[in-house]
């Protein structure tokens, strides 16, 4: 990885800056790491989880504070990790004044929220999960603001949406929480998608996703016809995140989250991500007409509607949610106005809003926590019981209303000043002061209402809990935030002036306007508007008091919330119904049509080039080549006459005569196998033959559990015209497919061989792979990674088969003894000199002894196959299958019980060991600085035995060998064990019924032991 840091003007970074920049990724990634750790804490480790989370947040605050010196006066800390340099993708960590301010918000409020949440969350909540999410969110948010690349920013953007989903749905037993989480994810996810499109458009036009480059290429972007769609897409993304009308409706539903989450994500940080993006792109976009109209209008409407809706809420958090929407609208409106002074006001208000709104949310949480309700109709006169909290809430609400001496006042006055300034002279511009004052009046209204109805008035009568002050630690975060509101409100320039200056310069550049934050500007028009707004808000409250204080009132649907929700629900229902309709229309769950279409598509795709060629170049379709044919040999023809007859027979008999079809398939397989021998593919022949044996045994074992299908009268009657037509249609397709393959094969075979890569393998097998059998060397060396994947597939399939069979419920018809078994038993019972089971024991007695004795022979053969594999036909796979056959033959000869009393195969151990050996062999190459699975080989001279060639590939092949034994045996045994399981079941039934031939305890014990043998 490459580390570098640079300042935007291209000047050489100082060494301090370079070092400082290396902390940026630490800042962003540390919360993720700790979040992972916290997730593994025990469920009730509240203090440990909160302690770790708090410490992480504090480290974040400290790091951010230390980095401040690197971002003053337009300086930028940058650190680039090259990621995919070939396509110009880099991970860029970038910190400037603006992102510094956001980092401080995220870490600072994060630390306070962690402290608050420690006392807010109930003891029975799984708190480590909560803090783990919270930390990951903190990391995502930091990653977002520290991204110097739009794609990277988008990645963290989506992460914040995801974690917001998880945090809203934290109390997932609550339906509102689930719905709210889903809605938030849907809306912000949709926004994220559009944002991606916008980012891609910008990247396409500019040729880079680097934020600095995009800003530097403003003219290029503005000249492009794609600028309008790009802006629209980016803005929809930002609006969805920052709850701007008409995408605001998810935020009130997100209030189902625990209150610390609302304070942190849904007022102070995540909803500011859209604002952050707009600020980030402000230098590029500001001044563009689309930007001006869309952003200003959306902001204005949101500001006003949010304020009105907040007024009529009855849930404390609902009031705060709509108030948040309204204030976000205010900030958006300021950004839309596109003047530098408006941008300053926007940044300042972002900071102020975060402090007073987070403290208000925390206060609402305290009220909820101590009284048991957030319903403003039930709350009243709380000041008596919680004077401290009450005072804090009054100050914070004052800041929200824009009361002098508080931070909200200063930024709101800056806002009003801006609305009065001349921008474009449009109707919107001229109406702006009026609407802004009205919106501000609503701010005052709901702030007054919040305080008056909750803390004053008569004593509340029906509170679930007796209210009292919360523990001091829970109040501390609110105290700190309110303290900041006061300090910023009284000595703005001393407290946040420099910080704001850095952020402003980062957005506006070095020619940013010099501003001086002051409490008192004199009797300016803006101050007058401020006074009007306060007077209007207060009088509106008294005018509406009767209605707002109505304790029986129901939530007003026209306040926007319910209607937006209904539209959203309708859209979702419609979407799902539409998707279902299209699926039903265009898809099918039935296998037959699917397979038919797949084969048809393959045929069409295969035939198309030839047809095209024939049409365009008259007559030159699929032709034979000039390569001389290999002379025909009569035995080969006979083999294939047999093979063709077998295949056809199998096709005809597969429905009603399964055993015959299986045998005939084996016949066709044999023809294929002989063809391999003939055509110089001995490895294939060996493997095919062995696999053929195992497959046949497997299918035979399976047939035991597949009830016979006998052609009934019904079946014959069913062969109506439709069915005949369908069969005919399938046959035609099959003939075309088969004929096409034959023609294609013939056309290829009659053409000379083209170069290909065979020459390389032939030339390098001995030198590079240390083996003479080129096919084996390809498999275990050149293409070892493929083989690695292949044996993994085999292992997975074996385990799946095993797992499926553990809960296997066979068809009803085949449970119990088979017809053959019953006949044998009946024969034994009929004779006095025989006991039940004798016939089964005597069956094929001589062959069984031979099979029994074959075990060492086949074992030797398998070892032989394995050892010669690298130089001659054979190899780990064939050897493994051969060894598995040795085992299964013992099962067949002596029965499962007899074998397992004497031999425990432990197939799972074989599989695991094999996979491990193969993987470790591959990894071994790393220690020599080579890529995975690079082989090494050498020759060893041993006394007596002579020269032995050693290759690491042989070790890999040993892994293949072990895995194949395990996988094959596991599948076969799992299936073979079904008969024992059923037998055991019937035994226990007999015991229950007190049948005559109750088994001896020893026998039953054996059966139980054996039944488990396949399982361990």
């Amino acid at each position: 990885m490459e580390h570098r840091a640079r300042s935007p003007s291209g000047t050489r970074p100082t060494p301090t800056m370079t070092i400082a920049a290396t902390y940026l990724p630490v800042l962003a990634l540390l919360p993720f790491v700790v979040g992972m750790l916290v997730a593994f804490l025990p469920r009730h480790a509240r203090n440990a989880a909160a302690g770790l989370a708090g410490a992480t947040a504090l480290i974040g605050v400290l790091l951010t504070a230390l980095l401040y010196r690197g971002v003053t006066e337009g300086a930028v800390l940058r650190q680039t990790w090259s990621w995919l340099p070939d396509i110009g993708l880099e991970l860029t960590w970038r910190l400037d004044g603006l992102s510094w301010l956001f980092s401080l918000l995220v870490t600072g409020i994060g630390a306070l929220v962690v402290l608050y949440a420690r006392y807010y969350m109930a003891a029975e909540d799984p708190v480590p999960r909560f803090f783990s999410y919270l930390l990951s969110f903190m990391g995502s948010m930091l990653g977002l603001v520290l991204s110097g690349n739009l794609i990277q920013l988008l990645f963290f953007w989506e992460l914040t949406s995801l974690l917001s989903f998880l945090l809203i749905g934290y109390w997932h037993h609550n339906e509102n929480a689930r719905d709210g989480a889903r809605m938030a994810l849907t809306v912000t996810g949709l926004g994220g998608f559009l944002l991606l499109m916008g980012v891609l458009l910008v990247g396409h036009v500019v040729g880079s996703f680097d934020i600095d480059t995009v800003i530097a290429n403003r003219d290029v972007l503005m000249a492009s016809p794609l600028v309008t769609p790009a802006i629209i897409c980016l803005l929809i993304g930002a609006f969805a995140k920052s709850a701007q009308f008409p995408l605001h409706f998810w935020l009130p539903h997100a209030m189902a989250a625990p209150t610390p989450v609302s304070a942190y994500l849904h007022s102070a940080t995540m909803v500011k991500a859209g604002i952050y993006l707009m600020m980030r792109l402000w230098p590029v976009m500001a001044g563009n007409d689309t930007w001006y109209y869309v952003v200003s209008l959306a902001g204005l409407v949101t500001f006003l509607l949010g304020g009105i809706a907040a007024t009529f809420q009855y849930d404390l958090k609902g009031i705060l949610a709509y108030s948040t929407i309204s204030h976000l609208g205010l900030i958006t409106l300021l950004l839309g106005l596109s003047t530098p002074a408006a941008a300053v006001a926007a940044i300042f208000h972002t900071l102020n809003h975060a402090t007073f709104k987070a403290s208000l949310f925390m206060a609402a949480g305290v009220i909820d926590h101590e009284t048991g309700t957030r319903d403003i109709r039930r709350l009243s006169g709380l000041f008596r019981h919680m004077p401290y909290t009450g005072t804090l809430a009054i100050v914070a609400a004052g800041a929200m209303a824009g009361v002098p001496l508080l931070n909200g006042f200063i930024s709101k006055e800056m806002f009003l000043t801006e609305t009065l300034a001349f921008h474009t002279g449009s109707l919107l511009d001229r109406l702006l002061p009026l609407i802004a004052t009205l919106g501000s009046a609503f701010s005052v209204l709901y702030s007054v209402r919040f305080i008056h109805q909750v803390f004053f008035g008569p004593e509340a009568t029906d509170l679930p809990r007796k209210p009292h002050e919360p523990v001091g630690w829970m109040r501390l975060p609110i105290e700190l935030l309110v303290f900041i509101c006061l300090v910023v409100g009284i000595v703005p320039n001393l407290s946040v002036g420099p910080l704001l200056r850095s952020a402003v310069v980062a957005v506006l550049g070095p020619e940013a306007p010099r501003f001086h934050l002051e409490l008192w500007h004199g009797f300016t028009p803006a101050f007058m508007l401020s006074l009007v707004a306060m007077a209007l808000g207060a009088s509106l409250y008294f005018a509406l008091y009767r209605r707002l204080a109505n304790r029986e009132a129901r939530e007003r649907p026209w306040a926007g919330r319910a209607r937006a929700r209904r539209i959203f629900d309708g859209a979702m229902t419609g979407l799902f119904a539409g998707a279902g309709f299209i699926t039903r229309l265009a898809g099918t769950v039935r296998l037959q049509p699917q397979l038919f279409l797949i084969v048809l598509a393959a045929v069409v795709a295969g035939a198309a080039p030839f047809v095209y060629h024939a049409v365009t170049q008259a007559g030159a379709g699929l032709t034979l080549g000039t390569r001389p044919l290999t002379p025909v040999s009569l035995p080969f023809v006979v083999v294939w006459a047999f093979g063709i007859a077998s295949a056809t027979g199998a096709a005809i008999l597969a429905k009603f005569h399964r055993l015959a079809a299986l045998i005939l398939t084996g016949g066709a397989g044999l023809a294929v196998c002989l063809t391999f021998v003939w055509l110089s593919a001995p490895d294939l022949a060996v493997t095919q033959l062995l696999v053929e044996i195992v497959t046949t045994v497997l299918l035979l074992l399976g047939l035991r559990w597949l009830p016979a299908r006998v052609a009934t009268k019904e079946d014959r009657e069913r062969a109506r015209a439709l069915v005949v037509a369908r069969r005919g249609r399938d046959l035609v397709l099959a003939l075309i497919a088969g004929g096409g393959m034959a023609a294609l094969a013939l056309a290829a075979m009659t053409r000379p061989r083209v170069g290909g890569i065979a020459g390389f393998f032939n030339a390098n097998a001995l030198e590079g792979g240390g083996g003479r059998n080129v096919v084996n060397v390809i498999l275990v060396d050149f293409r070892g990674f493929d083989t690695m994947g292949e044996i993994t597939v085999l292992a997975i399939v074996a385990l799946t088969v095993f797992a499926l069979l553990r809960r296997f419920r066979p068809a009803r018809e085949v449970v119990g003894s088979t017809r053959q078994q019953r006949r044998q038993d009946a024969y034994d019972e009929a004779r006095s000199d025989r006991e039940v089971g004798d016939t089964a024991r005597d069956y094929l007695f001589v062959p069984r002894i031979v099979m029994h004795l074959l075990f060492p022979v086949i074992t030797l053969f398998a070892i032989h196959l394995f050892l010669r594999g690298h130089n001659e036909p054979g190899g780990g796979f064939a050897a493994g299958v051969a060894m598995a056959i040795a085992f299964i033959i013992q099962y067949m000869a002596r029965g499962t019980r007899w074998v397992e009393e004497r031999l425990r195969v432990l197939p799972l151990i074989w599989i695991g060991t094999g996979l491990l050996v193969a993987a470790l062999t591959g990894i071994g190459a790393w220690f020599f600085g080579r890529p995975f699975l690079t082989s090494a080989h050498g020759h060893l001279h041993l006394p007596v035995i002579g020269e032995v060639s050693l290759a690491s590939a042989s070790l890999f092949d040993l892994g293949v060998f072990a895995l194949v034994i395990g996988a094959t045996v596991l599948m076969l045994i799992a299936l073979a064990h079904q008969s024992i399981r059923s037998a055991r079941a019937s035994l226990s039934t007999q015991e229950l019924e007190g049948a005559t031939s109750a088994p001896s305890p020893a026998a039953a014990e054996t059966a139980v032991k054996l039944g488990e043998a396949g399982g361990d």
């Binding site: 397989g669 046959l731 083989t787 799946t800 296997f808 419920r809 068809a811």
Partner: protein
Amino acid sequence: MEIVVAIGIGVLATTGVYLILRPRTFQVIIGLSLLTYAVNLFILAMGRLVVDGAPLLAEGADPSTFADPVPQSLVLTSIVISFSMTALFLVVLLAARGITGTDHVDGDGMSA
């Protein structure tokens, strides 16, 4: 020889495709086996037919007379994978028979 192999491929593919389009599970499993044979032979045929040219680098062997080892190693992989697939399909087939009470591929008794 080429013609014989081509006909063999054709018949195996035809029977295989016909069977996988049938509604009974056992027909499909047999069809898959036959189709696998056809495809494996087809892949081998792409290396052209070579008699007495096993790709074994014995002393003095001339690699230019060898059969192409690449299709061979592909087919070897294919044999393994199709074995796995057959085994898995067999178990699914048995389980489906137990659960649905029918050996129809879609778990119902309709159609041929």
